[in-house]
């Protein structure tokens, strides 16, 4: 129930936003402004997807090394496991950087004001 309410409010905000822009700006300028935002949404989605793909490969490699090492020398399995966990957390942090950039693109609208000025919208 809450999800449909939030999506409805979001749709209202989008419509009202574009209506407000249309009242004072040209139709092509308004479409251009929306296109910039569309491209940032697509970029955010692809960015985090590619980062997750790379992280999956890298962490798989790390675990492969750790398991092979443990198979050769089961007595060292404690130290190897600790080193593996540390390595996994460091690899994961690269994916987290991409996630933070994607969230910034989606929720913080960087460069919204300069782009609006460049497109000639009244800000």
């Amino acid at each position: 129930m809450k999800k449909s309410v939030t999506t409805f409010l979001l749709a209202c905000a989008l419509v009202l936003g574009t209506a407000a822009m249309a009242l004072a700006a040209d139709a092509e300028v308004q479409v251009a402004g929306l296109k910039v935002f569309q491209w940032t949404i697509i970029a955010a989605g692809f960015g985090i997807a590619i980062a997750a793909f790379g992280t999956g490969l890298a962490q798989g490699n790390a675990i492969r090394g750790a398991v092979e090492g443990t198979a050769r020398n089961p007595e060292a399995s404690g130290k190897i496991t600790v080193t593996m966990i540390i390595g996994l957390a460091l690899i994961e942090s690269l994916c987290i950087y991409a996630l933070v950039v994607a969230l910034i693109l989606l929720y913080a609208y960087p460069m919204a004001l300069p782009i609006a000025k460049m497109l000639g919208l009244p800000v």
Partner: protein
């Protein structure tokens, strides 16, 4: 993303400090973590005995584990920095796990808290380096060969600043991401207990992230303590 319900914020609203509570919930919850840690430490250290009671035993295990690991990593000269590392580790662990309790928020899910922890580590690293080596600490930045120094100094400075950024973003991204996923799962599927596996994963990553932060602080401080090449 609507505002989640937080217990301390609601309590402060009844007092009348609603503006402060809504703007800075992470500060409120940091105070809560401080109070919890101080009370636990006071309870554990109240009357220490040779054969420890329950509370003292738990804390001895925790601190012994951290100290053993630290001396393993840093060597004997790193022993004076044990309070700093242990405080960072325990504080970040308690802060991270607090977000899993419904009605509370982790202070580390806000970038201000994690940035402050990273700045503490950064300042501690350089303070330790200057205290141990004096002005010769600059040799750490100059690289292996003297003619390479004009190339190495900007690279080293940028890499030191990147350490602050990476510590901040790693902790912030992990904890905020987990909080976000939990909030979304609560909103969508809360009644089928779907957030429960995510909470187990959250407990694990809270511990791992606190451990990694403390471990990297140890490595940076020991890098500042060692002799420059």
């Amino acid at each position: 993303m609507e505002h989640p319900f937080m217990i301390l914020v609601a309590i402060l609203e009844t007092i009348g400090l609603g503006h402060f509570a809504h703007a800075y919930p992470h500060v409120l919850y940091t105070w809560l973590v401080m109070v919890v840690l101080i009370i636990l430490a006071w309870l554990a250290g109240r009357n220490t005995q040779m054969i420890p009671g329950k509370m003292q035993n738990v804390f001895e295990v925790v601190l012994d584990g951290i100290e053993g690991f630290q001396v393993d990593m840093m060597g004997e000269e790193g022993r004076p920095y044990f309070p700093l590392i242990a405080t960072i580790g325990i504080y970040i662990f308690i802060s991270n796990t607090m977000g899993l309790i419904p009605g509370m928020m982790s202070p580390t899910s806000n970038i201000n808290t994690t940035l402050s922890c990273a700045i503490v580590t950064f300042v501690a690293t350089h303070y330790v380096g200057i205290k141990c080596h004096g002005l010769k600490y600059v040799k750490h930045f100059m690289g292996p060969l003297l003619p390479l120094a004009p190339l190495m100094i900007p690279i080293e400075i940028i890499s030191h600043l990147a350490r602050v950024l990476s510590l901040t973003l790693r902790l912030f991204g992990n904890i905020m991401g987990e909080d976000l996923v939990l909030a979304i799962l609560f909103i969508l599927f809360g009644q089928y207990f779907v957030p429960l596996p995510m909470m187990f994963l959250g407990l694990f990553t809270s511990f791992v992230q606190a451990f990694i932060f403390a471990l990297l602080s140890m490595l940076y401080i020991s890098g500042a303590l060692e002799e420059a090449h």
